[in-house]
Amino acid sequence: MIATAARNRRRRKTIDSIASGAIVAAGVGVIVPLVAILGFLLFRGLPALHLDLFTKNPGPTGVDGGGVKSAIAGTLVLLGLSLVMGLPVAIATGVYLAEYGRTRIGFVIRFLVDVLAGVPSITIGIFVYTLVVLNMGKLSSITGSDQKYTAFAGGIALALIMLPIVSRITEEMLLLVPQVTREASYALGVPKWKTITTVVLPAASSGIMTGIVLAMARVAGEAAPLLFTALGNNFYSTGVFRPIDALPLRIFTYATGPFAYQHDQAWASSFVLVMMVLVLSIGGRLVLQRRGG
């Protein structure tokens, strides 16, 4: 009897040690990929980083040298377009959800916003292809361009990815504004719409800004939705109704290319892209945490 109890106790301690070891291993294991990826970005990307990367456009395929200036410019243009087209709708949706969305229809919309956040980016790309790219011909008299693939379409695709992120953060930030703040405004006879625009939104503005920055970090790295919308461009172009290059697209192309200079530039571009994204998302999170804490 005593022997059984002792054996049981030993068995339980052994299982506990094994399980604890596995859990600690998992905890250490999750940082291995990050270290491996960031390490290789430094190891392969940093040596390939060259001023030409920022000042020169891609040369003829197969010829060493050149840079990714067009892709960097394109990414900035696409970010700008997606902000212009996505933010108004996203913030207004967030305001609706926070201030008028305590209804059954509000619940449905909130659910659909979350569903939209889960739609694969490649599907967004196809959707914008069918909706915008295929219909560009009908708009040529307005746009003055006969191009099917455009920065405009790419911007819409990125805006659709941004939309659910920014709306939900806006909603949450508005709900964090204390109810007494609203009531103080109502007590002065200020109507609801004016309270929202002059009291509540400004109070939540830094949180919303953070959400926007995080959404930018997310879409800056997206290539899948640009494949059949913005298409990419070997030449420097910042025209809204022309095909445009983007950093993630350029990395995708060069990663599968046969030439060593393409691989080097892919690593260097990835380094630049990751730095851009990390600065945005670390910055955003720091602000958010300072507010939350």
């Binding site: 506990d16 999750v30 709708v89 939209l116 292809y129 006879g189 625009t197 995708f252 990663a255």
Partner: protein, 327 residues
């Protein structure tokens, strides 16, 4: 919220006798934000409509046979999506298994084991993993992970595990295994972030209840923590699955681009998302385009269902708490 009552009262105080008078700008403002919110509904409806419409030629031509035919022949305009459906299911389910085991383990480490000076930086690093763009994972997969599998991991697995089903060579730098490992890494942040919060939310009284009965730490986790947190952890895993199913470029770069149904963990293959990414720009005929959009539609339907399940689970656990998205 009850705020709708208050402005009416404020209005009344300001202009007695004009109870029915409501500032028209109130309605305009409300109308604008409501329209924006309804745009989200419109986008989803339009997305389903547009994809169905453009895929229609393929839907009518191949019907449901599209789902189980393995014949993908663009020049002859014959299309069946089974290789890609199989590729998506195999890669994402394997990634889900690995990602859940490692991710829940890591969450337990962060909540139950790690002192704050470890927990904070490790949590942070896991979140950084989420910020790295898909295409950078792909690049890393092509130049680091792939060669490692070809030269080191693959031969090792073939030496010791080739008695197992679906394990036979040759080990290439691209294929199912590369895609599974990349996807596992990519869904870890999703699983860790949510299951960490859910596990941390298990009340202390539950932990102490079992500890006071003489449980070891692992028994506490197994008996009190994981059962209590199970539906949230399940939701986290399914959100990870949704991400794996929809992941495109990283997979497109490492999966090997083969339209055959994979029969080994080293087989080159295609997933639904990656076949679209790679073939859509080199369309051979109208049916080819319709077939690819058909795949896109299937992908949309699958992710909508998976996401709806996951959201419902996570919502049930975190109902009433509003900070789930940003954390």
């Amino acid at each position: 919220m009850q705020v709708t009552e208050t402005p009416a009262r404020a209005d009344f105080q300001r202009s007695p006798g004009l109870l029915s008078r409501i500032d028209p700008r109130e309605n305009i403002f409300r109308g604008i934000v409501t329209l924006a919110a309804l745009a989200v509904v419109l986008i989803i409806v339009l997305m389903i409509y547009e994809l169905t419409h453009e895929a229609w030629p393929a839907i009518t031509k191949f019907g449901p046979r599209f789902l189980w035919s393995t014949d993908w022949n663009p020049p002859k305009a014959r299309f069946g999506a089974l290789p890609f459906i199989a590729g998506t299911l195999i890669t994402s389910l394997l990634a889900l298994i690995f990602g859940t085991v490692i991710g829940v383990g890591a969450s337990l480490f962060l909540v139950e084991f790690a002192p704050p000076w470890v927990r904070v930086p490790v949590s942070y690093m896991v979140e950084l993993l989420a910020a790295i763009p898909s295409v950078v994972y792909g690049l890393w997969g092509v130049f680091v992970l792939g060669p490692w599998i070809q030269k080191t991991a693959g031969p090792f697995i073939l030496d010791y595990f080739s008695w197992m089903p679906f394990v036979h060579g040759p080990a290439l730098s691209v294929g199912i295994l590369s895609a599974v490992l990349i996807l596992t890494i990519m869904i870890l942040p999703t699983i860790v972030a949510i299951s960490r919060d859910v596990i941390a939310a298990v009340p202390r009284s539950q932990r102490e209840g079992i500890l006071a009965l003489g449980a070891t730490r692992w028994e506490m986790i197994r008996i009190a923590v994981l059962p209590y947190a199970r539906s949230g952890v399940l939701g986290a895993a399914i959100l990870g699955l949704a991400r794996a199913i929809g992941e495109t470029l990283a997979v497109a770069l490492v999966i090997g681009n083969s339209t055959n149904v994979p029969d080994s963990i080293f087989s080159p293959a295609y997933t639904m998302a990656s076949v679209i990414a790679n073939q859509f720009r080199e369309i051979e005929n109208d049916t080819h385009e319709a077939a690819l959009i058909y795949i896109g539609l299937l992908l949309l339907i699958i992710t909508l269902i998976v996401n709806a399940i996951a959201r419902a689970l996570v919502w049930r656990v975190t109902r009433g708490q509003i900070t789930t998205v940003i954390e």
